[in-house]
Subunit: 243 residues, 2 copies
Amino acid sequence: MRYELYYWPDIQGRGEFVRLALEQAGADYVDVARRSGRGMGVPALMRLLEGEAAHAPFAPPFLKAGDLVIAQTANILLFLGPRLHLVPEDEASRLWAHQLQLTIADLVAEVHDTHHPVSGSLYYREQKPEALRRATAFTGERLPKFLGYFEAVLARNPAGATHAVGDALSYVDLSLFQVVAGLRYAFPNAMHQIEPACPRLVALHAHVERLPRIAVYLASERRLPFNQNGIFRHYAELDAESP
Amino acid sequence: MRYELYYWPDIQGRGEFVRLALEQAGADYVDVARRSGRGMGVPALMRLLEGEAAHAPFAPPFLKAGDLVIAQTANILLFLGPRLHLVPEDEASRLWAHQLQLTIADLVAEVHDTHHPVSGSLYYREQKPEALRRATAFTGERLPKFLGYFEAVLARNPAGATHAVGDALSYVDLSLFQVVAGLRYAFPNAMHQIEPACPRLVALHAHVERLPRIAVYLASERRLPFNQNGIFRHYAELDAESP
């Protein structure tokens, strides 16, 4: 099965959670909007997004797998998890993995809203006072709460704190890696303060970063750098104060 | 199977999407935090939320089904859908239903942030200027986009526009009913403007409202009224201007 991933070509964004799973599994996939040529590029993405298909998605990312078009990041991973052997087989574990992924999605949405608290249609510079208030609440309250939760999830895993779900790598581990990486880019001071309380999460990030296929991917041109157009953005004034 | 639903006792909130599915299916369930007595009430909810269980959730609502504790509204409906016969049997339809439910969840989060654009820890009165800007962007852009999308989903359903997924009632229909009901409470002027462009969605709301079990539920004390503590709140200044 050759998977087709559709996502904006210039940012990691939500597409990155899917890319990491495809890369770790060594899956055959095409990152459609980043390719040029017939049936490729952003026009191919827009055709599916704005088309009249019964199951047209609301927003990228979406995945084409044969006749299926699947949107919503966590839903794509729900679909891919078993096929890429990135989630345990029993229903309880799959629901748990998906629940964690949805909690990650909530965190990612809150990260986005630190720089766009009013509207995604306006530039950051048009909503800076609102962003400052929201980001202060985020780094002061929400971020420690989310990361503290994921740290507790690792600490309580009956199979050990190496993984979030069971005793093997899952797409949740890959997504938690991405969250830590993105937060370090966006909020280095806040993370400097919070990370000492989250040693298992920090260790999980380091573990995933060193997985052979992930290491190759991260060093490749397929891995876009973080930038000021993505979800994780660094605006110094939105970060916690330096220690 | 007796299900235990855990959600804040004084608001419809996200728990309502689960309640509607349980009610329509005639399921045996206990709304734990709304009951009193041994093992009931908010303390029972807090025990699970703040406990040390391996799968403790991040936030309500959550559902206890035997040994399983499942959180995240859309994940609960993913689990309940097949068991309550509120989703088709094939994988493609289930992924599609879940995808729509996750898009509904995104809309609900944006509704919440119209009155809490800075922080859920602050009162509305402490973030009124930010709320006004966010709500204006919401009613002017995001709400028409979301409702236009769901209208298109109904219009494009190969089985007809009566239902969102396939040719029978699903939990997605119940959730779309709740979205329309909540939006009418919160943003009557905006809905007055938008509804003429969404006749299928309006008809779906009316269809669900008249389902015998839903009608009984809505008339019962189990259905909490909308209020100013829930997700859908009516602040006249956040609504579109009256026509």
